[in-house]
């Protein structure tokens, strides 16, 4: 289907067009949810829950409530008490099509009509938002009267949400903390796994087959069940040596441990696929295993290292649970996910914060992903395809 029909003679225009269409369809479905939160994160907090994000690009008809100027601003005109003004802060920024004085019927009167509110009280609201509220007797009270109107609103976007999140206190520090956690927690398992994978693929020692089996078996250990035993261990070690139990070293090692089986699995199958003659040739040249590993295998395994790096980076960067358990939540240790999480109200989600922080957390992994993507595709090719 793939290559062949592309080349074969007489393939119809529609056949090819169909492929483009189908891919476009998938791409749309796959990106739409993400676009949704991107757009949402740029919208006004109150709008988010009022209308779908896809409507935010076009002007929309909205019914809203507002207050007229308070009675204190009334003037006497032609024997009537009149309050004049404009519904909008910037007059003309949108157009009123109808208005009303009861919330239940917000569009009772057309714009420009004079509404008779009994007892000689009248209200006229014009399309531009200007109004005249008149009464034969003086208005009293502190507050202006509530009126309701339907108006077309132009699309409105704001970066407020990003300001809220990005300018919140400690976010820069958390960013650094996240990097401090993520970089070693990505590199250390790679190193350890690479050495182990090399040994498992190319060195002879007793128990090798068993080790491979155990490592594959460990792929499935659910992380959550390891938390408490490990934390107990950390506390034990911490008390024994009088050091804090929640340290960067601790979380690096924890992430290393959780990422190791997959790393070894992936790297080993890739390295096992390297041509045996290369190692033999180097061995004849007098290279030790260490030299073979560092000078031959490591440079050649770059693709698979990159692909594992992406996986591990994504996983550590997006992790909250492990960080919360193994790293303190003080200012100098709170990671980005934790910080963003703390921004959410005590009782959970505010859409605008959720979407904005979701989008912010995606950015760094995306950068990493796109910069390593070339290797990624190649690395996986060699790494996992062999397994089948």
């Amino acid at each position: 289907m793939a290559q062949a029909s592309g080349k074969s003679a007489g393939k119809s225009f529609f056949g090819r067009f169909g492929v483009h269409l189908a891919v476009l369809f998938f791409v749309l479905i796959w990106t739409l949810p993400t676009i949704g939160i991107l757009v949402t994160s740029l919208r006004d907090k109150n709008q988010i829950v009022a209308s779908g994000w896809w409507t935010s690009f076009s002007s929309s008809m909205q019914t809203s409530a507002t207050r007229l100027s308070p009675p204190s601003s009334q003037v006497q005109k032609d024997g009537k008490f009149v309050i004049e003004g404009n519904l909008f802060e910037t007059p003309g920024s949108s157009a009123v099509s109808a208005f009303g004085t009861r919330s239940a019927q917000p569009t009772e009167f057309k714009a420009g009509d004079v509404a008779d509110l009994k007892d000689g009280v009248t209200l006229q609201v014009n399309a531009d938002g200007s109004y005249v509220f008149a009464s034969p007797v003086a208005f009293d009270g502190d507050n202006g009267r509530r009126v309701y109107y339907a108006a077309t609103m132009p699309p409105k976007f704001t970066t407020d949400n990003y300001n809220t999140v990005l300018l919140s206190e400690g976010i820069g520090r958390s960013f650094l903390n996240s990097l401090t956690v993520t970089i070693p927690a990505t590199i250390i398992p790679i190193m350890i796994a690479a050495f182990a994978a090399y040994a498992l693929a190319w060195m002879r020692f007793p128990g090798r087959a068993l080790l491979i089996a155990v490592i594959i078996g460990l792929l499935v250990v659910p992380l959550q069940m390891a938390l408490i035993p490990l934390l107990e261990l950390y506390n034990g070690v911490g008390n024994l040596f009088g050091v804090p139990s929640k340290t960067y070293l601790g979380i690096w090692l924890a992430h290393t441990g959780f990422g190791l089986p997959f790393a070894i699995y992936l790297l080993r199958s890739y390295m096992a696929g390297l041509p045996r003659e290369l190692m033999e040739s180097a061995r004849i040249d007098g290279a030790s295993d260490f030299e073979i590993f560092t000078k031959i295998v490591l440079p050649l395994s770059f693709p698979v290292l990159a692909s594992f790096a992406i996986f591990q980076f994504l996983w550590v960067w997006n992790d909250l649970l492990v960080a919360m358990v193994f790293l303190g939540s003080g200012n100098d240790q709170l990671v980005l996910t934790g910080r963003l999480n703390a921004l959410l109200g005590s009782r959970g989600g505010d859409w605008e914060i959720l979407t904005t922080s979701a989008f912010i957390t995606i950015i760094v992994p995306l950068l990493v992903f796109f910069s390593l993507q070339r290797y990624f595709v190649r690395g996986l090719l060699a790494g996992s395809v062999k397994g089948g």
Partner: protein, 371 residues
């Protein structure tokens, strides 16, 4: 600079025996070629010599020292792999220098040796290239260069030319021959599938089959006096024609009755007891010629002709027990036509006979270096 002694060398993978006791003496400076059908153990034997495989029986001596347990790097060998096995991420220079760098040799010395080897192999302009930017033939030369730089006592080649195309193969073959000449004291062991390579390069050829040595000898010896049926058919192309026959009369010269056909006198001695036994009778296609007379060794209808220009292969159906037609290599200009009846003869000196076990009746002489 080194001689090798193999004494009942055995190699098994688990319970599967690959080499069944190989005995072989290789003199210092010899060019030895291993040939044999695919899977017979040529590579295994070579890799055992290199130390890449541990042998499971027997002893292997290099320069009169048992090296069974010596790691490859300490055996004074260099190996050129069938797949080149160049380090893809290193330049040609670094590929060649790698071994010496590992040995922490002097920079200047490394440079001198690498450049010298590059000079010999005409690689000087390519020293900064990566292997992937080179053609097959050039890569092969780099692989050889890498071996030269190590200045080994024993050079091992595993089918080094099999990945090259015909023209390159010829050219590289000649280069290897010249290399050998320039390093007269270096022992070389060479594995190949290719008849021409074996014939042109070898001082002695070792024919292997199923992990056994079938025959060792100079190319001409193997060609002219194959020790057994297997060697007879393996060496030479197209293969020797083999026909079932019977010994009509044994003696200093043997009277052979080819099944269902004429009988012929062969100047090979057979023991008296051989008379009447079933034997195999062989004649090489190139030793056959069109008989001028009316009587001939073989007579049959031309089944098929392959015209190769200067020569033609003529397949003659001689009817008798032979399940395959007789192949004759005749000059390209001989007027032969399909369906025509052809009478073929061969000089009696070019005939071969083998006993029922396939052994040649000419006991092959003590292995000697070809002149």
């Amino acid at each position: 600079m080194a001689n090798l002694k193999l004494r009942s060398v055995e190699k098994a993978y688990g319970s599967i025996k690959i080499l069944h006791g190989i005995d072989l003496d290789i003199q210092s400076g010899e060019f030895i070629v291993f040939v044999g059908p695919s899977g017979c153990g040529k590579s295994t034997l070579l890799r055992s010599i290199a130390g890449l495989e541990e042998i499971t029986g027997g002893t292997l001596e290099i320069d009169n020292e048992v090296v069974n347990d010596v790691p490859p790097s300490k055996r004074g060998i260099a190996m050129v792999f069938q797949s080149y096995a160049l380090y893809p991420h290193m330049t040609v220079y670094d590929n060649m220098a790698f071994g010496m760098k590992i040995a922490r040799e002097d920079k200047a010395e490394i440079d001198r040796r690498v450049r010298q080897a590059a000079e010999i192999l005409q690689l000087t302009k390519y020293l900064d290239r990566l292997p992937k930017a080179m053609s097959g033939g050039q890569r092969q030369r780099v692989a050889i260069g890498r071996a030269i730089v190590r200045n080994p006592k024993v050079f091992l080649f595993d089918e080094p030319l099999s990945n090259l195309d015909a023209a390159l193969r010829v050219a590289t073959r000649i280069e290897i021959a010249k290399l050998k000449e320039s390093m007269p004291n270096t022992t070389m062991i060479y594995v190949t599938h290719d008849q021409v390579e074996a014939m042109t390069l070898a001082d002695r050829i070792v024919v292997l089959k199923d992990g056994h040595v079938e025959q060792v000898g100079s190319p001409m010896q193997l060609y002219k006096k194959p020790g057994n049926l297997f060697v007879a058919q393996f060496i030479g192309s197209p293969a020797m024609n083999i026909l079932p026959a019977r010994v009509a009369k044994a003696g200093a010269t043997t009277e052979v009755a080819v099944d269902g056909g004429s009988s012929v006198s062969v100047p090979i001695a057979t023991p008296a007891g051989a008379a009447g036994t079933e034997i195999s009778f062989g004649v090489r296609p190139e030793d056959l010629y069109v008989s001028k007379g009316t009587k001939a060794l073989f007579e049959g209808k031309v089944d098929y002709i392959e015209q190769l220009g200067e020569v033609q292969l003529v397949y003659v159906d001689i009817g008798r027990g032979a399940d395959r037609p007789l192949t004759a290599k005749l000059p390209g200009n001989a007027a032969v036509e399909r369906g025509q009846t052809l009478r073929l003869d061969a000089d009696s000196g070019d005939l071969h006979i083998f006993d029922a076990n396939g052994s040649s009746f000419v006991p092959h002489e003590i292995e000697a270096k070809a002149a």
